[in-house]
C-alpha cells in the first residue's frame, strides 16, 4: 500500500502534506503533554516496532505469504495518537532510507496508514469490544474486525488517490500524466485484493497478537491508550488555537468559489460528463440513490446572490464541522471508560 514517487500529481501529494502537518503538530502536542520526557524513547521504540511488524511474512492460503500494516494493532496497544506518530516515523524512515514508498508521497502514505488506519481501527475496537473483559472472545473478535475494516478503509483511500489522478492531470489529448487508471478501475481492483486476502491477514494478525497480549500482559491493553485519548479529548476541548484554525479554514472556504473548476474528487455527474465525456456506470447508480440532501451544493435553497452563496457556504461549513464535532463528542462521552484505569 506504500505509494511510490511519481504515482500522485503535485496537487494531490501537496494537499496530503497540508492535511498531515497540522495533524502531526496536534498529535505531538498531545504526546508531549501525556508522555513528557518519556516521549522520545517511547515513540522511538514504538516506531521501530511498527517498522518491524511490516517486516514479518505471514503465511496465507495457497503457500503464499503477505505482510501486515499493523496500524490498528499499534493503535490498540499504544493509543491512536502515539500510533499516528509511531507509524508516521516508520513510514518516513522507509521512504527516506529504504526506498519503500515515495518521498513526495509521505503525506499521502501517512494519511492512509498512520491516520485513517489507526484511528478507525482503534475506534472500531473500542466500540465493538466495549463493556467486555480485556481477554474476552468479544475483544479478540473486535480486534480482528478492527484490523480488517481499517485496512480496507486505508486501501480505499489509496485507491481513490490513484483513481483521481487521470481526472485531475492529463494532457489536452487525454493522456493521463500520473497513475493511469480511473476510479472505476482503481477502486474495485484495490478493494478486491484487500477484501479477499490482505484484509484477512491483517484481521488474523491483529486478533492473534491482541489475544496473546491479553493472555500474557493484560495491563498493556487499555491503559496507556485510554490516558492518552482522554488527554487528547481534554486538549481538543480546551485548545483555542485549534478551534481558531478550523474557524479560519471555514471562513476561507468561499475562496474555493473563486477558484475555477471543482474540488478534486468531488464531481457531480454533470461535471464528470464534461470532464470525462461519460459518467461511470456505478457513479450514475450511486448518484441516484441519494437525492434528498438538505443543503445541495453546500447552499440553502433560494440563496443565489454571490454574497448569499458565500454566506451559505460558510454556514454549511460550520454545520458540517459541528456535526463531526458532535459525533466525536458523543463517542468520547459514551465510550465506556476502561475498567482497568
Amino acid at each position: 500500500m506504500h505509494i511510490p514517487d511519481g504515482y500522485l500529481g503535485p496537487q494531490t501529494y501537496g494537499a496530503f502534506y497540508a492535511i498531515m502537518v497540522p495533524i502531526w503538530f496536534f498529535a505531538s502536542r498531545i504526546l508531549r503533554k501525556s508522555l513528557k520526557a518519556k516521549q522520545a524513547s517511547y515513540l522511538a521504540l514504538g516506531a521501530a516496532f511498527s517498522f518491524i511488524i511490516m517486516m514479518f511474512n505471514i503465511p496465507a492460503p495457497g503457500g503464499s505469504t503477505g505482510h501486515a500494516v499493523g496500524g490498528a494493532l499499534i493503535a490498540i496497544i499504544l493509543g491512536p495518537w502515539a500510533a499516528l506518530m509511531a507509524v508516521s516515523i516508520a513510514l518516513i524512515i522507509q521512504a527516506l532510507l529504504f526506498g519503500d514508498g515515495g518521498i513526495t508521497a509521505i503525506g499521502a502514505n501517512c494519511f492512509n496508514m498512520a491516520f485513517v488506519m489507526p484511528f478507525t481501527g482503534y475506534y472500531i475496537y473500542r466500540i465493538l469490544g466495549s463493556k467486555s473483559d480485556v481477554s474476552s472472545p468479544r475483544r479478540i473478535f473486535a480486534a480482528g474486525v478492527a484490523g480488517y475494516l481499517s485496512l480496507n478503509l486505508a486501501a480505499f483511500f489509496t485507491a481513490v488517490e490513484f483513481g483521481i489522478q487521470p481526472l485531475i492531470a492529463h494532457t489536452p489529448d487525454g493522456t493521463p500524466l500520473y497513475a493511469p487508471y480511473p476510479l472505476h478501475i482503481a477502486v474495485p481492483v484495490m478493494a478486491f485484493e484487500h477484501l479477499v486476502l490482505f484484509g484477512f491477514i491483517e484481521a488474523i494478525v491483529t486478533a492473534l497478537v491482541v489475544a496473546y497480549i491479553a493472555r500474557t500482559d493484560p495491563v498493556a491493553l487499555g491503559f496507556s491508550n485510554v490516558a492518552n485519548m482522554r488527554e487528547g479529548m481534554k486538549m481538543a476541548r480546551s485548545s483555542k488555537g485549534l478551534w481558531a484554525f478550523i474557524g479560519i479554514l471555514i471562513i476561507l472556504t468561499p475562496l474555493g468559489l473563486l477558484a475555477s473548476g471543482v474540488a478534486w474528487g468531488e464531481w457531480s455527474s454533470e461535471e464528470l460528463q464534461s470532464i470525462l465525456g461519460y459518467v461511470p456506470e456505478g457513479l450514475k447508480r450511486l448518484g441516484n440513490i441519494w437525492q434528498y440532501t438538505f443543503m445541495a451544493d453546500y447552499n440553502l435553497p433560494g440563496w443565489n446572490t454571490p454574497f448569499m452563496t458565500a454566506l451559505g457556504y460558510i454556514l454549511s461549513g460550520f454545520i458540517g464541522v459541528g456535526v463531526i464535532v458532535f459525533v466525536t463528542f458523543l463517542a468520547s462521552r459514551f465510550l465506556p471508560a476502561d475498567r482497568r484505569s
Binding site: 524513547s41 516506531a47 505469504t65 526506498g99 489529448d173 500524466l177
Partner: protein, 311 residues
C-alpha cells in the same frame, strides 16, 4: 533376524523432493531473506557516501533541499522528452559522484519500477485508458463487460495509453533515481540532521535517528528468532500454526520493545537527559555549495521554462 527392508530388493525410499520444495519459499525463509537484504543494503550505502564525488562534497542541507526541489520538478513535468533529459542529467550526476553506473542502473531498474512497469502495461489498451487507436488487436461483435470494466468492440493499443504508460514509468524511474542518489551519497545521520531545512523540529530528527538505530537492533532480533525456528523444524506446519507463531513473535517483540523503551528512558535520564535535544552538527556552507546553488537554480529555471513552453 534381519529386518525386512534389508532383504527385499526394491524398497521405496522416501526422499524429500528438495528441488520442488525450494521453488516456493516459506514464510521463514522469506523474512530471513528480506531482513538480510535490508541490513546489507543499509551497510552498503555508507560505502559510497564516503567517496569524494560531487554530491558527497555538497553540504547535506543544500543537497536535501536540491533533491526535494528536483523531485517536485519531476512531478510537474509534462513532456516525455523533458523527463528523459532530466533522467540523463541524474545519471551524469551519479557518475560524477563516483557511483558505478551499472550498480546505479541496477538499483533503480531491477528494484522498483519493474513493479510499476507491470502496472503500466494494461494502460496501453483502450480497455483501460480510452484514446485514439494506433494498433488494432481484436474486433468483437457487440459490446460486453467484465464487472466494472467495459470491453469495447475494438481492442487496440492507443496513442494516449502508450504515452501514459511511458511517461508514468519514466517519471517513477526518475524519482526513484533521485532518492537512490540522495541515499547513496549521504550518511544517514547527516541526512536526518539535514531534515531541519524543512523546519522539522529537532526532537523529531532525534526520535527518527533513535528509531533507525533500534530498527537495526530489532531486525537482528527477528532474524535470530526466525533462524532459531528454521533450524528446529523439519517440516512445514499448517498455515494456522504459522500464523499463530508469527503473531506470538510479534506480541513478544512488542512487549520487548515497550520494556526496552522504559530501560532506554531510564538510561537517558541517568545520563542527564532533560527532554531537550541539542544536536551537534558541523555543517558549513562553503564555496562549492554556492557554486552548486547557482547552477542548480539556473538548471531548474531552464527545465521549468521548457516545461511551460512545451506543456
Amino acid at each position: 533376524m534381519r529386518p525386512r527392508w534389508l532383504v527385499t530388493k526394491d524398497v521405496e525410499i522416501h526422499v524429500p523432493d528438495y528441488k520442488k520444495k525450494s521453488a516456493r519459499k516459506g514464510f521463514l525463509d522469506k523474512t530471513i531473506g528480506e531482513v538480510a537484504s535490508l541490513v546489507k543494503n543499509s551497510v552498503f550505502l555508507e560505502e559510497y557516501a564516503n567517496r569524494d564525488g560531487i554530491l558527497q562534497s555538497i553540504d547535506p542541507r543544500v543537497k536535501v533541499l536540491s533533491i526535494a526541489l528536483l523531485l517536485i520538478c519531476v512531478s510537474l513535468l509534462k513532456h516525455p522528452l523533458l523527463i528523459i533529459g532530466l533522467y540523463l542529467v541524474i545519471l551524469g550526476l551519479a557518475m560524477l559522484s563516483k557511483i558505478p553506473p551499472k550498480f546505479f542502473l541496477q538499483r533503480v531498474w531491477l528494484f522498483i519500477p519493474i513493479f510499476s512497469g507491470i502496472i503500466a502495461i494494461p494502460a496501453l489498451f483502450n480497455v483501460f485508458v480510452p484514446g485514439e487507436p494506433v494498433l488494432i488487436l481484436v474486433k468483437f461483435q457487440g459490446k460486453w463487460s467484465i464487472g466494472p470494466i467495459k470491453i469495447p468492440e475494438v481492442i487496440s493499443i492507443t496513442k494516449q495509453g502508450s504515452m501514459a504508460a511511458f511517461v508514468f514509468v519514466m517519471r517513477v524511474a526518475t524519482s526513484v533515481s533521485l532518492v537512490v542518489l540522495l541515499v547513496l551519497t549521504t550518511r544517514w545521520s547527516y541526512l536526518l540532521k539535514a531534515l531541519r531545512v524543512f523546519c522539522v523540529p529537532q526532537i523529531f530528527t532525534f526520535i527518527i535517528s533513535m528509531t533507525y538505530r533500534y530498527i537495526h537492533l530489532l531486525l537482528r532480533l527477528i532474524e535470530d528468532i526466525h533462524l532459531a525456528k528454521k533450524s528446529r523444524v523439519i517440516r512445514k506446519g499448517s498455515i494456522r500454526e504459522g500464523q499463530r507463531w508469527v503473531s506470538t513473535q510479534m506480541g513478544t517483540m512488542m512487549k520487548r520493545s515497550l520494556k526496552m523503551s522504559e530501560d532506554v528512558y531510564s538510561a537517558m535520564v541517568s545520563r542527564g537527559f532533560t527532554n531537550e535535544v541539542r544536536v551537534v552538527d558541523s555543517f558549513k556552507i562553503g564555496r562549492v555549495d554556492y557554486l552548486w546553488s547557482i547552477f542548480f537554480v539556473l538548471f531548474i529555471s531552464l527545465v521549468m521554462g521548457l516545461n511551460r513552453i512545451w506543456g
